[in-house]
Structure formats: C-alpha cells, structure tokens
C-alpha cells in the first residue's frame, strides 16, 4: 500500500494544482469551503465537479447540473471494468471503497505498473487512491478558502476560467480527426440553439445529441477507425 502511496505523489502534485483552481472557482460562485470539502470527498471526480459547479452557477438547476457533470464521468464504467481482476480477492465493502477512491491518475499508474510487475495489485491501487482522494479533498478545500477571502474576481476574467477548463478537457478527450465532424456539429448546434433563445442546459443536450447522430452515421459508413 505504501508503495502505491509513494509512487503516486508526482501525479498527486499535479492534481493538487487543478484541485486548488477548482476550489477557487467554486468559492467564487458561492460554495462555502466545507461544501467543497464534502463534494470532493463524496464525488471524487474532478471534471464532473467543475462542470456541475459551472452549470449550477449559471442555471441553478440541480438535476441538469448534476447530470451534465455525471456524464463526464461515464468513462469510469470502462475504467472500473478493467479492474475486475485486481479487485477479485477483495470483500464487497473493500471493492466499493476502492472504486470510489480510484481516479484517472492512480488507475493509470496501477495499470502501467502491473504491466511491468504482475504482483502489483489491489494494495497498490488502494494506497495510491487514498493519497489521491486526500490530496484532491485538501487542495480543493484550500482553493475554496483562498477563493472566499478574495474579492469578486469576475472583473479580472476569472469567469472565463471555466471556459478555458472546458477547452482543456476537450483537448484531453480529442481522439483524432474522427471527432472533427461530430464535435463541429455539436458546437454549431449549441451556438444556434442558444442564439435562438433555448436555455443553455437544453442547448447543451441538443448539441450533444446532434453530435451523437452524426457520429452514428459516420460509424455506419465505417469512416471511424475505432
């Protein structure tokens, strides 16, 4: 467990910076620091939290914000599915705890280390996961404390930080030119929907569905290599 906890530290440092930035933004849109602590500990999903908080600040629709955030985390169906062998010896309670503390970073590190050494398993995953969720919770809390003491930073362009974060997330999700047409369709449709006066939450859903339709058509024609 200690091995995993130590090995993850460089990646945890990167997550801490992102966590601090998220906490700061959340505080600026009205979240108290302890609300951020609670959210980070219970949700433990960076991109989901940032999307949910931004949507919530913009629309105050709880369900829409939570669903938009959760959709970003769909990849965890695949991530957790790859852990079945590693988790096989654990009790159900430990399995549930382990999948909650598993994030992108410690999952990727565990899989990479396991490929080199098959003895690496659940203990490594749990050790690194405990560090990740602790670092994430503490760094987002510190960010929120800092954010709540600062004046309203909107005038300095802080509101744009969410947009920039989404752009960075999109870059991370980019899988090549197969994405170009569906993504363009989503972008244009959403812009058009908002311009026509559709509430943003519905415009986003419309845009995403439009992209899915285009992607499906391309797949049917066999134009996507995936």
């Amino acid at each position: 467990m200690k091995h995993g906890a130590l090995a993850i530290l460089p990646l945890a440092a990167g997550a801490a910076v992102y966590g601090f930035a998220f906490g700061l933004l959340a505080a600026q849109v009205g979240f108290p620091w302890w609300g951020v602590t609670l959210m980070s500990g219970l949700v433990h999903a960076g991109s989901s939290q940032i999307v949910a908080v931004e949507q919530f600040a913009g629309s105050a629709s709880v369900l829409g914000a939570a669903l938009a955030g959760a959709a970003l985390n769909l990849r965890y169906i695949g991530i957790v599915a790859t852990l079945s062998e590693i988790l096989s010896g654990l009790s159900l309670r430990m399995k549930l705890l382990t999948i909650h503390i598993t994030g992108d970073e410690n999952w990727a590190l565990t899989m990479a280390e396991r490929a080199k050494d098959p003895a690496i398993g659940a203990r490594f995953l749990i050790g690194s996961g405990l560090v990740m969720i602790s670092v994430w919770t503490v760094s987002t809390t510190l960010g929120a404390v800092a954010g709540s003491t600062l004046p309203n930073l909107e005038q300095f362009g802080l509101g744009f930080a969410f947009t920039a974060a989404f752009i960075a997330m999109a870059r991370g999700l980019w899988r090549g030119y197969a994405n170009l047409l569906p993504w363009s369709a989503s972008f244009v449709t959403t812009i058009a929907a908002v311009s026509l006066g559709t509430p943003k939450a519905y415009a986003i859903v419309t845009g995403a569905i439009c992209g899915l339709v285009i992607s499906h058509q391309l797949r049917k024609r066999g134009k996507t290599p995936k």
């Binding site: 990849r75 790859t82 947009t163 995936k226």
Partner: protein, 98 residues
Amino acid sequence: MTISYWLLILVLAIAAFTIRILGLFAGDAIKSSRFNWVLDELPGLIVVSLVASSLAGQPVGTWVAAGVALAVAYFTNHVILTMFLGVTAFGLLLWLGV
C-alpha cells in the same frame, strides 16, 4: 449554503458512484454491447457543447481568448496552463476594451 447546494452535492455523488458501480457489476457487458460507442463519444460532445454554450452571444474578445486557450491546449495538453493563459488573455483583452 442553501438546500440546492446540498442537493447538487448529493445527486452528483450518487450519480458518480452509480457509474462506478455500473462499471463494477456490468462494465464488461456494457463494453461489449452495441451502445459502447455512446460512452466513448458523449463526454467529448458534452464538453464541446459546454464550450459553445459559454461562447454563444459573447463579444469578440471572449472568442479571441478562447482561441488562445485552444492553441495552448492543443500544443501543451495541459489543463492548468490552458486555464492560466486563457484567463490572462481574457483579462488583457477586457482591459484593452476588446
């Protein structure tokens, strides 16, 4: 913190954990189903739609700052750097009155 904040945290926590549990018990079945591609595609499409919704109807300066952020993201693939340089560009353009 009003009840809405509590609800958001609770609903998001339940949704995020449900996704993980789905992965634990049905991950393999979902991955081999014909709808697996939707799981692959949806996150990217939602993020792109989020970017679009925050840019719709905004002044030119915001679009330019988004272009800067996109360029930084493209070349560095680094979240914090993209946020930092994007906000800097946005603040600078705001200050210049663009």
